[in-house]
Subunit: 335 residues, 2 copies
Amino acid sequence: MSVEPPFLLCLGDSKDRRLAKTARGVLDWAPERCLGQLRWTADALDLGLPDMSVEQAVAAGARTLVVGVAPIGGRFGEDWRAQLLAALDAGLDIASGLHQRLNADPVLSAKARERGCRMHDLREPPADLPIAKGVARSGRRVLTVGTDCAVGKKYTALAIWRELRARGADADFCATGQTGVLISGRGFAVDAVISDFIAGAGEVLAPAAAADHWDVVEGQGSLFHPAYAGVTLGLLHGAQPEAIVLCHEIGRDEISFYPGFKTPSYAEAIARYVEAGRLTSPALYCAGVSLNTVDLTPDAAAREIDRVQRMLDLPVIDPIRTGAAAIVDRLLGAK
Amino acid sequence: MSVEPPFLLCLGDSKDRRLAKTARGVLDWAPERCLGQLRWTADALDLGLPDMSVEQAVAAGARTLVVGVAPIGGRFGEDWRAQLLAALDAGLDIASGLHQRLNADPVLSAKARERGCRMHDLREPPADLPIAKGVARSGRRVLTVGTDCAVGKKYTALAIWRELRARGADADFCATGQTGVLISGRGFAVDAVISDFIAGAGEVLAPAAAADHWDVVEGQGSLFHPAYAGVTLGLLHGAQPEAIVLCHEIGRDEISFYPGFKTPSYAEAIARYVEAGRLTSPALYCAGVSLNTVDLTPDAAAREIDRVQRMLDLPVIDPIRTGAAAIVDRLLGAK
């Protein structure tokens, strides 16, 4: 899966920032891949990119229209289909992480063939994934794990990857979700993989590598999530990390949308992830905790980071506020 | 998924009993569904059923040809296709648990349409599975879990189900693999489900029921298996059992085909399954241990069952040698 930049981020007529997670994630972490934004209405969400029509974007060098928002229900209607047809007509590839597959739409498929354009369904995993082998492999790997979904696992992995690179390490970010794939240009959505192959997918996403090469793997779901723990465990076993980094959002006391399911304590979460992961990585350890302190003032965030650090005697970061240096120190000092 | 009996079990030219797991499982547990066997060569495996051609089977009332053996590689060749075409021509439905889908074969599909026959791909899960809700639901559920794959989880679940029925309880066997589906006539293969929906599949397979209704759920994989633990955990969370029964084969000290991966002790396995399952079933407990003692003499098996029972202070059975009465006593005594 290789999606060609530069991108035209399509926001449609969406007014809800929460539905534009993909577009915002790509813009935050790969701004050099983002050329402009396409909005159909003047009151649609504005990410601050130049507004462009598909024709203007093509003239400026854009290669791929990225579906940057999730229509309600995860499906696109006639308005979207018309715009996507126009993009193909103008010569753009299309990338989408919606459940509804571009390539299953006969009208879009015919147009893409006619124009020689590619349509990337980012939720479509490779067809030839193997059953996991479980054999120890070379290279260094770190996986972000969470107390819940959507607590900052992707941002934490990206921050660790950037910091490793900044220090001259040979490091890759291994995307396991659609936004990560658009940021890094490789990977696939592991939660779309057939269950039998979930650990095999982890082995493919972070394969054997040179002894000093780092793969920083974006975690998915949470071992404490009543719907997604199977994905989390399979990825943990397949990724075979030497270290995990636990991610948590301050104030997230319950699993989102699952009232009554409490998020675990830091100590319990670390113990359970390490216990489970040691099946395929016997020396697995926790290299630190990454806090999402978005709802705190800077002072309160600093106090909370300090408090958790003293309590656990582990490096604690907020990838946005502090960067990942403290955790990378621990990772690089571990061998 | 409803596969119409009676069945003609197709053994092809297979000579290997191990490749006939499906046919043997159906014959062991649902002999009343099995009318005859179809073999192409005189030296093929003989399950002791009457040999029948498809025409003879139809004349005797057969409704479905069951692909009872796994061809090497999980795919069928021209010899199989010719025989399956002949079965459709004679008016039989076909059921197959192979990875290769009957319904993806244009020749077979065209013939099935022409003859008005159904082709059941037992590994194809329902298209509309939900994301798990995690909400506590009514009814009583017990799940078999294993130290490894293929240690007796299906047989144990079937034995518990039969014993519950024999005592007048309202009980269903909930199949989660292809052989179980053929035995019970319902369910689907959970390891073929997209990872995001694995716990949701467990909720669908064993749905809310009357307060005194039992669902006996066939477990899959093992929490200690480097490739399949994600399936196991998702099913455990979705099934939401009040009790688990741990299954183990005596002598299975390593995970099959995964050298170096030791099977856990009884105590460790029980502790880890109960810990993991309490996420969605807070009062989860272990109702006993089921041993596969096939490689022991009757005396040695009896001694081992007694030894494990004393060590763990839990009911211990071998579903073939002792039946499931001791575990059902515990289940029925629990409330």
